[in-house]
């Protein structure tokens, strides 16, 4: 796995760093890689174009610093611009302590409004507010039930009203209700709608005209592609939006939509949905997403660690095709040892681009506690014959039993190790899978 990662870096700057001085075509190549990475992360096409122009300017100005290698410097500049656009501080929701606040959640179908409404209410409740949820989705079957059930789980009151009444009537009644019973935040869960559905957009306008909405938050799904920006702009132009909530960030989507939103709308992203539980809502931290967008994890730190453990030609070797196709148990063991040398496995996982971390975590799960786990892996591999290590396909049932006996482990453990190995081998071989995971891995 590490070799794939290093190939990524290699393609960006291994050539560059050998020279110490960067040539124009090297810069071009790096810029192209970064452009691809941004597009793979679903950053909007136009935003990417502007970004690259800006990056090119900065690279041309700054690249001569002596402390870092040129490649590292380009990455650093990229991060710098990303952070600048994304903003550094985290922006909170506006809640006036004196008057009741009304928050309206809007968005496309399936973006996660209902779940988010409950998560937001719970967050506010935990901060000492008294929230009321309003079930104003009168279109999707069972949306009202969903909100009631989730609200119940979270211990938050839900105003459903008469289910035959329109969304607007329900909201008006809920406002009265909230006033009467002294709730200080009302959160309205509206029906999912297309940004181009004039009829339903009118409904939102009508809602905003008939009651005072303090915050209109657009719920957008982080898995979205190029259209996200248009959706955001259309909603903002038609209805007026005060900020965004980005959902489904617990997956492996790179979240480029965050960059598009920040650079083209000037509105803040206030929260991030990070899981299926009602507690899985976090404030949005811009700095955390910038590494994620590039698919790089905490690259700079990781580069340093890799440099400390690997010789350069070793890395180049591993990026090659031959290595990938002939990957055997010896290599597998070497990789594990190297990673170990770089620090605790947990730490390395956290530094890795997260696409990799999930597959690596499986290894950790299977081998358990890292010190002992690695020793057991070592014992298993050392109990194999030379031929078995080079050609693990020959390891049949009886060989597995022998290896287990020889290493003082169980056949089960041997199986698990071999499974992990074959998985990794398959992963290495699969160009398609690899390409999709490693945006930088282009020659």
């Amino acid at each position: 796995m590490l070799d794939i990662l290093s190939e990524k870096f290699q393609s960006i700057f291994s050539k560059i760093r050998e020279k110490g001085k960067i040539s124009e075509s090297d810069i071009k190549q790096s810029l192209r890689e970064i452009k691809l990475a941004l597009l793979e992360a679903d950053v909007h096409y136009k935003v990417v174009k502007d970004f690259i122009v800006k990056l090119e300017e900065k690279v041309n100005q700054e690249v001569l610093s002596k402390t870092l290698t040129p490649g590292q410097q380009i990455i650093k500049i990229t991060h710098g611009i990303l952070t600048e656009i994304l903003g550094e501080k985290q922006i909170k929701i506006n809640i006036n302590e004196k008057i009741p606040t009304t928050i309206l959640l809007i968005g496309l179908q399936g973006s996660g409004k209902t779940t988010t409404a409950v998560k937001l209410a719970l967050t506010l409740k935990n901060n000492g507010h008294i929230p009321l949820l309003v079930a104003a989705d009168r279109i999707r079957p069972a949306a009202i039930e969903q909100l009631s059930i989730l609200g119940g789980e979270a211990g938050i009151d839900v105003f459903t009203g008469n289910i035959n009444k329109s969304a607007i009537d329900t909201i008006l009644e809920a406002e009265q209700w909230a006033k009467k019973y002294k709730y200080n935040v009302t959160i309205i869960d509206s029906a999912g709608r297309l940004h181009i559905d004039q009829e339903l957009i009118q409904e939102l306008k009508k809602i905003k005209n008939s009651i005072q909405v303090h915050e209109t938050l657009l719920v957008l799904d982080a898995l979205m592609g190029q259209d996200a920006l248009r959706v955001a702009n259309d909603f903002n132009n038609e209805v007026g939006v005060d900020g965004f909530i980005l959902t489904k960030l617990d997956g492996d989507a790179r979240g480029g939509v965050a960059l598009s939103l920040r650079s083209r709308t000037n509105l803040p992203i206030k929260f991030a949905g990070v899981g299926e539980k009602i507690t899985d809502l976090e404030p949005f931290y811009p700095d955390r997403i910038s590494s994620r967008i590039l698919g790089m994890g905490d690259t700079l730190t990781l580069i340093e660690k890799i440099e400390a453990s690997y010789a350069r030609n070793e890395l180049q070797n591993m990026g090659g095709k031959v290595f990938r196709e002939q990957f055997n148990l010896n290599d597998f063991y070497e990789q594990l040892k190297k990673i170990k040398k770089m620090g605790s496995l947990e730490n390395i996982f956290n530094l890795m681009p997260f696409q990799f971390s999930s597959s690596l975590k499986n290894i950790k799960q299977d081998f358990g506690d890292e010190e002992k786990g690695l020793k057991r892996v070592e014992a298993i591999i050392c109990s194999m014959t030379k031929q078995e290590r080079l050609d693990p396909d020959i390891i049949n049932g009886s060989r597995r039993r022998r290896i287990a006996r020889g290493s003082g482990t169980t056949v089960n453990e041997v199986n698990r190790l071999l499974n992990q190995f074959f998985k990794m081998k398959k992963f290495l071989k699969q160009r398609t899978g690899l390409d999709s995971l490693v945006p930088f891995m282009r020659k």
Partner: protein, 302 residues
């Protein structure tokens, strides 16, 4: 069917049609500008940067200067042709055999429209007189069972009684035996949305599949991954994971009534050889049609 898809799409695309022709008229004078325009068109459809490069490389091969400015129809056709050629031939996307029990398992990440699709599919086969049982195996999301039950009532299709929180595999087990007893011909199983990165949730689906294989080995099984048109490059990762876990039989592309085009599904077809079975394009129960490559490419490019 095609007509209704077209009207569904038309309302959103009117403004874009001219743009498309303009792009070729203006750009044909300058090859770089021309290629950049095509790049933009393709990237904005969510086809992805790598597939876009592949298409552009093919485009490089032609000499645009030898054509007159009003030859843009030629380029349009050419681009369409390239896209069609890039879609590999695959097995049948959707197999249904009215003689035996057919099982459709609907899977996907959260919020792509699985439940609505399950309802639409049941309605689609209603005319074919396939006695159908809808199975709400999404016992996790609050209200999901109710949602499917409403839909089933609306189209007058029988729905399996399920209670929230029960084990999906056991719901499926019961429904298979119920379907067999009632001599049903089509069983549509709606599963809970899940991000493909949660291995425990993927294992849950694998278990459901095992239960189906074990209890209805004779049935024709279609496992359909639902991807919605707004999905960006993550769609590929979704397809890879669901393919690895379940060996899905096809993809259904939903929400084509918006302004998104679902280009990632093109790349999925090309790279992973997974066929597409259905397209959906609206909130009405009838807003569903079979996939057709030409139609899909028309959507992508318009």
């Amino acid at each position: 069917m095609l007509a209704s898809l077209k009207t569904g799409l038309k309302k959103t695309r009117d403004s874009l049609i001219d743009k498309y022709d303009m792009l070729f008229t203006d750009a044909v004078k300058d090859k770089n500008l021309f290629l950049e325009k095509i790049e933009e068109l393709l990237i904005l459809s969510d086809i992805g940067p790598r597939t876009t490069e592949e298409i552009l490389t093919r485009f490089q091969a032609i000499n645009i200067h030898q054509y007159k400015m009003n030859d843009f129809n030629y380029f349009k056709k050419y681009l369409k042709q390239i896209l069609i050629e890039l879609i590999p031939a695959t097995d049948d996307a959707f197999i249904i055999n009215p003689e035996i029990l057919n099982i459709v398992m609907v899977v996907g990440v959260n919020g792509t429209g699985k439940t609505s699709f399950a309802g639409k599919l049941a309605y689609y086969f209603k005319d074919g007189a396939l006695d159908t049982l809808l199975v709400p195996a999404d016992t996790f999301r609050a209200g999901a069972i109710e949602q499917l039950t409403y839909l089933a009532k609306q189209i007058d299709v029988e729905v399996m009684r399920t209670s929230a929180g029960s084990e999906p595999a056991s719901v499926v087990f019961d429904s298979i035996h119920s379907a067999k007893a009632k001599k049903k011909k089509l069983l549509i199983i709606d599963t809970a949305g899940r991000l493909h990165t949660y291995s425990n949730l993927m294992k849950e689906l694998e278990k459901v599949k095992r239960v189906i294989k074990k209890n209805a080995p004779e049935a024709a099984l279609n496992i359909i991954l639902v991807i919605d048109a707004t999905t960006g490059q993550n769609g590929l990762a979704q397809a890879i994971s669901f393919k690895e876990s379940l060996n899905i039989s096809s993809i259904t592309l939903t929400k084509l009534d918006g302004t998104s085009k679902g280009g990632i599904v093109f790349t999925i077809q090309k790279d992973l050889l997974i066929p597409v079975s259905f397209l959906t394009y609206g909130e009405k129960i009838t807003d569903l049609c079979r996939y057709d490559t030409e139609k899909f490419i028309e959507i992508l490019l318009n």
